[in-house]
Every structure is written in structure tokens, then in C-alpha cells.
């Protein structure tokens, strides 16, 4: 039971401090995975893929997915409500002083610092996803040979898909996920 409340508390904190939209929740989720081991980095990656290919805001999808993953439907609902609760409270407070908030120089300043910082936090989380998806750290540590570090199949697919996505930028992300799933099945990733 206490894990349940801890999970809700972690999502409440995420909702309170993740500024700048859905992707900003990823660093908090990665921290949760590292700190409590509730899910792996691979799970996080699957969650991102599921969120990208289903409707709805990414942050909400991730909270529902993780809550469900841990405690079933009730967990998914509780995680989502915990994530949105701070927004609802903060917005209701701000709504009363909309103009003052909008024109405030302090708010503008704080946000100008947060925007680039959030990119840095997301990058850190993404690097850990890259390491787990494109490299074999365990195999490398076991054998000591650098050749064992690289997951060549995955790196090749990464390069090909990235080139394709850059070339056809209008392609929907779901298409990229679908092609990658097919390649994974065909080439036994």
C-alpha cells in the first residue's frame, strides 16, 4: 500500500515540476525508474512508443501506462489524477490574476531559464534510452572487448530510420514505429 502512495506522490511532484509539456515528464520518469526500479528503461521506451501512437497528451498516457503497469486500472487512474492535480490547482490560482502573471517580468525570466534547461534534462534521459537500446553494456563489461559493446543491428536500423525520417519529414511517427517493429520481428532483434 505504501508503494501505492509513494507512486502517487512521485507523480504529483512530476506534475508540479515538469514545465513545458509532455516530453518534460520523461526525465522525472527516468529518475523514478533509476531510484525505485518500478520499471526499466526499456519499459520507459515502450511507454514513449505507445504514447506517441495513441491519442491524448503524452504525459497523461505515460502516467496511465506506468500506474497500470504497477497496480492495474486503479493505479493508472491514481497516477493520472496525481499528475494533473498540481496543474489544476496552479491554474485555478493563476486564472484569478491572469494579466499580472502574463505580463510579469519575473515569470518571463524564470521561463527563459527553464526552457533550455528542460532540453538538457530530457537529453540526459534520452541518453539512457540510447544506451539501453543501441548498446550492449553488459556484454561489453563481461568480455571487456569493445566490439561487444555495439548493437550493430540496432545501430544500422537507427541510421536507416533516421535518414528516412529526415528525408520524408511528413511521415507520421506511428509509421516509423511500425516499420521498426516489422524490422525487429523480421531480423530477430
Amino acid at each position: 500500500m505504501s508503494t501505492f502512495f509513494l507512486m502517487c506522490w512521485e507523480f504529483f511532484k512530476t506534475g508540479l515540476f515538469a514545465v513545458g509539456g509532455g516530453l518534460a515528464t520523461i526525465p522525472f520518469l527516468q529518475e523514478m525508474s533509476a531510484k525505485y526500479g518500478w520499471f526499466t528503461v526499456q519499459d520507459l521506451s515502450t511507454m514513449i512508443a505507445v504514447s506517441e501512437s495513441t491519442p491524448g497528451p503524452i504525459g497523461i498516457n505515460m502516467a496511465t501506462y506506468i500506474g497500470n503497469h504497477m497496480f492495474g486500472f486503479l493505479g493508472g487512474t491514481a497516477a493520472t489524477l496525481s499528475l494533473v492535480a498540481p496543474s489544476v490547482i496552479v491554474i485555478i490560482i493563476i486564472a484569478g490574476m491572469l494579466e499580472r502573471f502574463r505580463d510579469s517580468k519575473a515569470v518571463k525570466g524564470v521561463f527563459e531559464g527553464l526552457r533550455p534547461a528542460v532540453v538538457g534534462f530530457i537529453l540526459t534521459a534520452v541518453v539512457s534510452i540510447y544506451v539501453s537500446s543501441l548498446l550492449f553494456v553488459d556484454a561489453w563489461k563481461a568480455s571487456g572487448s569493445i566490439a561487444d559493446l555495439f548493437n550493430w543491428k540496432a545501430l544500422l536500423l537507427f541510421a536507416a530510420l533516421l535518414a528516412f525520417y529526415k528525408w520524408k519529414s511528413k511521415v507520421h511517427p506511428v509509421m516509423i514505429i511500425f516499420i521498426a517493429a516489422l524490422c525487429g520481428m523480421i531480423f530477430a532483434f
Binding site: 511532484k13 506534475g15 514513449i48 506517441e52 491524448g56 497528451p57 531559464g113 538538457g120 534534462f121 536500423l157
Partner: protein, 185 residues
């Protein structure tokens, strides 16, 4: 009573038909909130959106709360928010059940590992876009680099780092606007 139902149904639709959240939602908001129900004007929606981006939380939820609150107070805000999150709750719950039932199959494992590579590609382009928007000069680059290094190589929690970044932004903004003021004088 009908207003509450309208708020819920409208935001439920907006949650159901937007992929990716954020700006993808604007056209739906335009149709439902501005044209159909006249809950807010275009300028108000753009204001809410801008503020939603620099307040904590999911942008779509922030916008829903704003408009619900404007129409019917606190309860309105809560109902609009519940509307916008409900489709995700239902859809993701179904998908989680599917994945946990089939994830033991070897073929599904292979597919999931392929999908992880796709996520790397999507995150690559997402970060590229965020960098273009967020890192515009030396100052913002320094904050970005410090944020990356501190979050990668120290044990400081993300909460602490977010607070530090906010303070850094405030200091940077104050110094910059003083400099500008000095030049003008």
C-alpha cells in the same frame, strides 16, 4: 447541469482526437471551444496556451482547466480536465492489458526491441526541435549545457535542478534587461 456535460464531452473529444498533445491540439480547441460553444475568444485561447506552456504540468490539461474554470468556476475546471484525460485512461488501460498478455511471446519481444530503436529516432528529432526553440544565444546554451551535465553526472534530483534552472533564468533575465537599459541610457 448541461454546461458541465458539454464541458466534459467537448474535452473528451479533444483528448480522443489529438495525437501527441501540445500544438497538435490547437485546431480542435479552435473548433470546439471558440466556434461551437463560444467559451472563449481566439485571443484568450492563445493566452491560455502561452501561460500553459510556462506553468507546471501538461499543456492540454492546463488549457482545459483554464477554459473550464472560466465557464463554470472550479468545478468546471475539474470537469474539463477529467474530460481531457479520460480517453487516455481508457485507451492506455486496454493497451497495457494487451502488452502484458503478449509481451512474453518471442515475436513480440523482437518487435518491442525494434520499437525501442524507433523511439531513439523520434527522440533525436524531438530534441533537435527543442534545441532550436530553447537555445538561442550563449546564455541559453550555457544553461542547457549545465542542465545536461548536472543531471547526467550528479545525484541532484530533477526537482532541485528545475528550481536551480528557474533561478538561473531569473538572474539571466535581470542581467540582460539591465544591460539593455544601460545601452539605451
Amino acid at each position: 447541469m448541461k454546461v458541465y456535460l458539454d464541458l466534459f464531452v467537448s474535452w473528451f473529444k479533444m483528448g480522443l482526437f489529438t495525437f501527441g498533445g501540445g500544438y497538435a491540439m490547437l485546431p480542435m480547441i479552435q473548433r470546439e471551444v471558440i466556434e461551437k460553444h463560444h467559451w472563449a475568444t481566439e485571443d484568450e485561447v492563445m493566452d491560455y496556451y502561452a501561460i500553459g506552456q510556462c506553468t507546471p504540468g501538461i499543456i492540454a490539461v492546463n488549457t482545459a482547466t483554464f477554459i473550464g474554470y472560466k465557464v463554470k468556476g472550479i468545478l468546471g475546471g475539474i470537469i474539463a480536465t477529467l474530460g481531457v484525460v479520460s480517453p487516455s485512461l481508457i485507451i492506455i488501460t486496454l493497451i497495457t492489458a494487451l502488452i502484458s498478455n503478449f509481451s512474453q511471446l518471442e515475436i513480440v519481444q523482437h518487435a518491442l526491441r525494434g520499437i525501442q530503436v524507433a523511439v531513439c529516432v523520434l527522440m533525436f528529432t524531438a530534441i533537435e526541435k527543442l534545441l532550436k526553440k530553447g537555445v538561442t544565444d550563449v546564455w541559453t546554451f550555457l544553461i542547457f549545457a549545465a542542465a545536461f551535465l548536472l543531471s547526467s553526472f550528479t545525484d541532484l534530483s530533477t526537482v532541485i535542478l528545475v528550481i536551480l534552472a528557474g533561478i538561473a533564468g531569473y538572474v539571466m533575465f535581470t542581467v540582460k534587461s539591465r544591460k539593455k537599459g544601460g545601452e539605451q541610457a
